[in-house]
Each structure stands twice: as C-alpha cells, then as structure tokens.
Symmetry: C2
Subunit: 302 residues, 2 copies
C-alpha cells in the first residue's frame, strides 16, 4: 500500500501546484528532482517572485532505508528499516494582510509492521483578523467532520500546542489542525486515513485562495511591510529553534535546501519592538495564544 | 573577587560603547536596565540605524541564583548555586565589505569553589578577504601571546570547531578565538585570566575599526547587499540552531530580547542559491572551512 500512498501524494502535489500557479497568475513552480544516497528521493518545487507569492515551496518526498542511531534518538522509535512519504508546503505571500500558510501530510512505516499518518494545515497571519481565522477553521472542521466527529477538536488543540514559541510565549499564528501517529481503528480504515490526508491537501489551495481574496481587499503601506517582516522573523525562530520536523531533518542529514525552503525570502529583527497601544499590531499579538475558539468567535462576529 | 570582575566588565562595556559610538559618528547606544527575578540583571545596550552599524548590541550581565535542573541538563554541571557575569557583543554593519563581528567574555562560578573564564572574538565577513582575515588573526594572536604561547593556536582551533554550521558544512566566518573552562594554573593566575579577557575586550573596537577602514575602501552595489543578506541568513541559522549560548538562554528563561539582539535587522533566504563561477561570492564560500591558516596566508600575500 505504501507505493499507492506515494503515488497519491505525487498526484496531490501536482494538483496543488496547478491550483497555486493559477492563483498566482504570474510565476511558475521550478522543480528540482533529488535522490537520497541511502534510499529514495523527492521532487522539490519552489515558486518565487510571483504576483501572490514572494516565496513558496510544495515538496514531495519518498525516503527509506535503515533506521540510524540518530533517528532512533530523535524519533524515540525502534525498528530496523523505515519508509516515509509526504507532501510539505509553506507559502510566504507579498501582501501583509495575506497569511503565511503551511501544510504537511505524511505517511511513516517502520519495518513492515508498524505505520502511521501525520499532518495538518496551519495559518500564520501577519495581522490576525478573527473573521479570517474563523473561516479558515471552518474549512478545516468541514474536512475533519467527514472522517470523525472528534478529529477537529482534538487536532485543533494539538496544533495550538505544537505551533507554540515558548521563548516568546506566543503561538506561531492562529493554529489550524495537527495530528500524528494516526492509525486505523475499528472506526476508520487505513484507506480512509489516506483519503483524509488527500482531502486536506485538496482543500489547501482553496483555503489559501479564500484568505488571499479577503486579505487583498485592504491597502497596505511600508509600515505594514515592516511588521510583516518582523512576523516572518518569528516564523524563522519557530522553524529553526522548535519545529521538530526541521530539527529532525537538519540533524539526520535531510536535503537542507528542501527543508529550509520554509524560510521567507526576507525576515527582520528589531530590538524589543513594542507596537503602539491599540494598533493592529498590538491586537495581533493579543490573539497569539492557545485555546482561542475561532469558530465561536467567527459566529459571533456574523 | 567575583564582584571585582563584574565591575571590570561593566567598565569594559562602557569603554567599548564609547569607542564604537565614536566610530559610528551618527547613532548612540540606547540602554535597557533589566533585572532577573531569581537574582541579578543586566545592562543591554543597542545601537541601530547608525552610519556604520545597522544594528549592534553590547550587553553586560551579572546573574546568579540556584542551579536549576534545566541548567544541570544543559550545562552538564553539578552545583547548588551559580554566578555568571560577562560582556557580549554582536555588530551588524550596513556595508557588505565590513564584517559582522562577535565578542564574548564571561566568568562563571559554581558554589564558592569552582570557577572558570570563557570567551573569544570571531569575525563573519559577508565577503571573505584573506588579507583582512589575516590582519584580524594577527591582532588576536598578539593579545594571546602576552598570556600564553599556546593560547592562540589552541583557541583558534576551538573557534573553528565552535563556529561551524554542520547542516551547511561551512564555518560561520573566518573564525577567531574561542575558549572555555579556563582556570588558573601554575603558569597563569586568576588575575591574569581576567586581564586577558579585558585585553580582548579593549582590542575589540580597534580590530573592528581596522576592518571597517579596509572594507569601506570598496564601492558596493545592490547585488552585494543581496549577498550580505543571504550571509546574514546563515548567521541566523547558526545562532538559532547551533549556538550553545543562545540555546541555553532560550531554554533556561534568559532575557529574550538581550539574547536575540544578535540577530540582524534583515536577513534573507533564497532557495538553493548558487553563486556564479569565480565570483567573489563563490570565492567566499570556498574560504568557509576549518583549519585555514590565516596568518601564513596573510604573510604570503604580503
């Protein structure tokens, strides 16, 4: 079945790239095929200097080989051989009112016996707009509900916990969903778990287009760009200091350029920046916390 | 003696700031006094939007308190109470041919029994010029040789090993000197170790001025600025992923803004950037390796 999953993930990568190129309308993805010495390889696709996207990547990979000591230590897992395939996306738009968005769906197998799915979609607005966050979460809940009544709530809390920057005491953005170690049960089959990942993948470009439309209805200034770059700095901090996927890749000899395609073209750090009281920047900071119920909030706004 | 060391370090901070302000000639350091709940505090001084410096920090801190479990784990040390004082500097200039420079001198004490000094100065040119690197290393060797004939060679190798970015397989820059766990011996007293740290501190602004003068003799273009920003991106990668001081500070609840003043105002990441063959950018990459003997190289150039 793993070959089928990898094929489905490649087809998913194709569909997502086609949708994002159509949204951008100016730039195209450039593809790099790469191989991994120990087994497998990938298709890294990067778009840059588009109309919508300053920089974005949609990566597919399928890697396998012996489980090294470093992997055992990093992943706390036992096994002789592993197989992993997935699609990873990070999009950095130009427009400060359009969010950074990230998606990952992956399948992991240990030897021939143990396997699990992981993944999720989360959003990092430079400026948090609760209505936009609510619509994003609604879209995710709709997919989750097709598969299990508890998925959305459980995976929403998981995302809040995962996409958190402890040293800043703030979330990376408005969260989304995150899941890992998902296996078939009596309630849901392995095929359905794959279909869940593909459904998430297929809604991704749609969710992004929705955010793009809402965000670009507003004009922006140089000051908004400065703030966007500061928020990108926090994104870099999360990815380099805390993200377990990035750490794992950097420490186990993953393909560096594919891993770090997640970093923005430009980011900025200003010493002890304090936003003006009651500004949109200060309001954004006040939203960067766990356990915000974006769905209820969105319903109230309406 | 620890109070004397802290006083000397504060006076050193004053002298360095005065020299760097005089070099900049336009901007001044802004000071933030801060206190640490568990004991001690610091004086963070940041200069920004100067003529020379886009962003720079010269920090003094003196902190003490109980050794926490997290500290034991991070530092692999045993003890009940600790005391630490030091001066840390990172300078990010505007000019692409002027290097980033970093200095740290510190004194650490465990309970009342165990103590050591640590520190060093290292340089990260955006464009490596072997003559400039040689002159920098000559300056460091001169100070080292005043204290011990083996210091320079030993600490130069240590810096090569410490300021290395494994996931890029390149050094952060042209190195310098780095030392840690330095204690008094029959050959060198505790007072002399303090004097060594102060001498390094006092030569820092001089070494920087020398580099500034050499670097600014060249004109630069927008392309040089783009490359400078890419190299700053690598500096961010080193500091956030590998630097033990930064990791320690972030994980043990240090003052975030003081720790991350080391990050540049702007940094950049471009997917799989490949410099043109035989360009200055490609030559720079070829120099970013361990064990380059900058002193001999510099002598040969002359």
């Amino acid at each position: 079945m793993k070959n089928k999953i990898a094929q489905e993930f490649q087809a998913l990568q194709d569909r997502i790239c086609a949708h994002l190129e159509s949204l951008d309308g100016q730039s195209n993805f450039q593809e790099d095929l790469w191989q991994r010495e120990e087994g497998g390889g990938g298709r890294t696709r990067v778009i840059s200097h588009g109309k919508v996207f300053e920089k974005g990547g949609v990566n597919f990979s399928e890697v396998h080989g012996p489980v090294t000591d470093l992997m055992k230590k990093q992943l706390k897992m036992e096994g002789d051989t592993f197989y992993a395939t997935g699609v990873s996306i990070v999009l950095h738009p130009h427009h400060p009112f359009v969010p950074i968005m990230h998606m990952n769906v992956r399948y992991f197998q240990l030897d021939e016996t143990d396997y699990w799915f992981g993944g999720g979609i989360d959003m990092t607005p430079h400026y948090v707009n609760p209505a936009q966050a609510g619509i994003f979460h609604q879209g995710l809940k709709k997919i989750c509900d097709k598969y299990h009544p508890e998925f959305y709530q459980k995976f929403k809390v998981w995302a809040d916990d995962y996409f958190f920057i402890p040293h800043r005491n703030e979330t990376r953005g408005v969260g989304g969903i995150f899941y890992d170690h998902l296996k078939a049960t009596q309630e849901i089959s392995k095929e359905q778990l794959l279909q869940f990942a593909l459904d998430l993948g297929d809604v991704f470009a749609y969710l992004y287009a929705e955010q793009y439309e809402m965000g670009t209805s507003k004009e922006f200034t140089e000051e908004h760009i400065k703030w966007r770059n500061l928020r990108r700095g926090r994104y870099v901090e999360f990815n380099l200091v805390h993200d377990r996927g990035t750490q794992f890749g950097l420490k186990t000899g993953g393909r560096i350029e594919s891993i770090l395609m997640s970093l923005p073209e430009t980011a900025s750090w200003v010493y002890d920046f304090k936003p003006i009281t009651n500004s949109d920047e200060e309001k954004t900071l006040s939203w960067l916390k766990k356990d915000v119920d974006w769905l209820s909030l969105c319903a109230k706004i309406k």
